[in-house]
């Protein structure tokens, strides 16, 4: 049976256009506080480690793509009709070398608990959709 319901699409906001545009070019761009050197995800108008500096306190930096698995769930019941055909799929939080957590999917691995270890090394996979946006997923490095 074909699933006709589309998945939710990311609706980029002005402060996050740079992030989504970067993914289209298979690049991960993150915001970093000039004052504290801390990265943040997701993009904001202010740095949450140095809010007083406002937008001028932030700079965009390309991330290394080095990542490890922080936690995951293997989803067996679709939380949205758009994901019915994907079951079971791996929802995950991935820790980038820049010390931010990114919500994502792990692909290219069996959706079994035994196939996934917390801390395992991952590398990015850029999934270009027909809708024009690119999702950042990860696979074992």
């Amino acid at each position: 049976m074909t699933n006709k319901t589309p998945k939710p699409q990311p609706l980029s906001q002005p402060e996050s256009d740079r992030y989504w545009d970067g993914l289209k070019n298979e690049e991960i761009w993150l915001q970093r506080s000039k004052a504290t050197g801390k990265f943040q995800f997701y993009p904001r108008q202010i740095s949450i480690s140095d809010p007083e500096s406002g937008a001028n306190g932030l700079e965009w930096v390309q991330a290394s793509g080095i990542a490890e698995l922080f936690t995951f769930s293997i989803v067996h019941a679709a939380p949205h009709p758009g994901f019915v055909d994907d079951l079971p799929y791996i929802a995950a939080l991935v820790q980038l070398a820049e010390d931010v957590l990114v919500p994502t999917n792990i692909v290219g691995v069996e959706p079994e608990p035994e196939a996934l270890q917390i801390g395992m090394a991952l590398k990015p996979v850029f999934e270009h959709s027909e809708g024009g946006h690119t999702l950042l997923k990860f696979t074992p490095a």
Partner: protein, 387 residues
Amino acid sequence: MPNIQRLKNLSGQAHIVGVGESNKLGKVPEKSPLAHHSEAAINALDDAGMQLSDVDALFTAGWSTLDVGEYLGIQPRYTDSTSVGGSSFVIHVAHALAAIAAGYCEVALITHGQSGRSDRGPIPRNPGTPMAQFEAPYGIIGPPVSYAMAARRYMHQYGEDRTRQAMAEIAVSTRKWANLNPMAYFYDKPTTFDDYHNSKWVAWPFHLLDCCLVTDAGAAIVITTPERARDAKNGSVKILGAGEGHDHSGISQMPDLTSAFGRYTGPQALEMAGVTHSDIDLAMVYDSFTYTVLVSLENLGFCGPGEGPDFVASQRTAPGGDFPLNTNGGGLSYTHPGMYGIFTIVEAARQLRGQAGERQLDNCDLAVAHGTGGLLSSTGTVVLGAE
């Protein structure tokens, strides 16, 4: 920061005088969410010996108080639609205490109603929120996936096998309480450890029996001044302590997946009430998932971080155990329409007034009710005392 000395002066300055559910819980396609609000409101006011015309303050979540006030035909002089997930109604109890003590109002009505199972309309989402933008496209949507990822991290930190055992203990003990509550969805459904381990996966590491129900239900609470509480038809319950707050919205922004905001709201509520953990006779802890209970007991300070599995071992929280927990059967097996928090207060009030039927505790003078909302995002804790 909260001023504990001033909060201590607030302790006991309002009482719960009425609680009630809507007339039928579970699968109720013949009633709208607002119908549940109205039925529960009438039932809670009747429990208090009051009428809608007595109400001068209205609190609700999920809906605006504009809609609920209009539907009920009342014109409140104090209004609060704080909506931070299922904990909201516990937070409303604290807000009602403050509003009554300050003189804004005398009779506060908190209502809830949701048709989680049978609602005719989908819940609209704003696609521009950070959660919708950064989590939803990856199928990280709704509570099971998010709470499951938190639970998996807890397992990594504190041991997978003992966490699994703890989740099973909670799944089974809570459903034993439901077997004593005629209003509970699992009233006539005994549940064994084998049932737990054999139930299907929803979002690993969660089995189906790790997850709360999805039902249609409503509930309401009536709160008033200590003076007017003397006339309460079925007795009253003192609001002694409270705390509230939140530290994220989406799960990927949670500062520590193994510790929710109850680490602040629990100790604050107890300190405001001037009581300690060993004084507490009943814990009503929002159980959206078994894991929610595990982490909440640690956050509230009943045990330390990572000690939850030892704390709930050997059916200690079941009927007859020495730590009564979620005696109505909880969101896991009594009812859970989406935002369950109000039901923790309803049950605590019944136990403190000695009106809990077959599941009534022998000595119940102090109860803690703890709500968790969103994706482990917000918590509200109250300490309630028998009159």
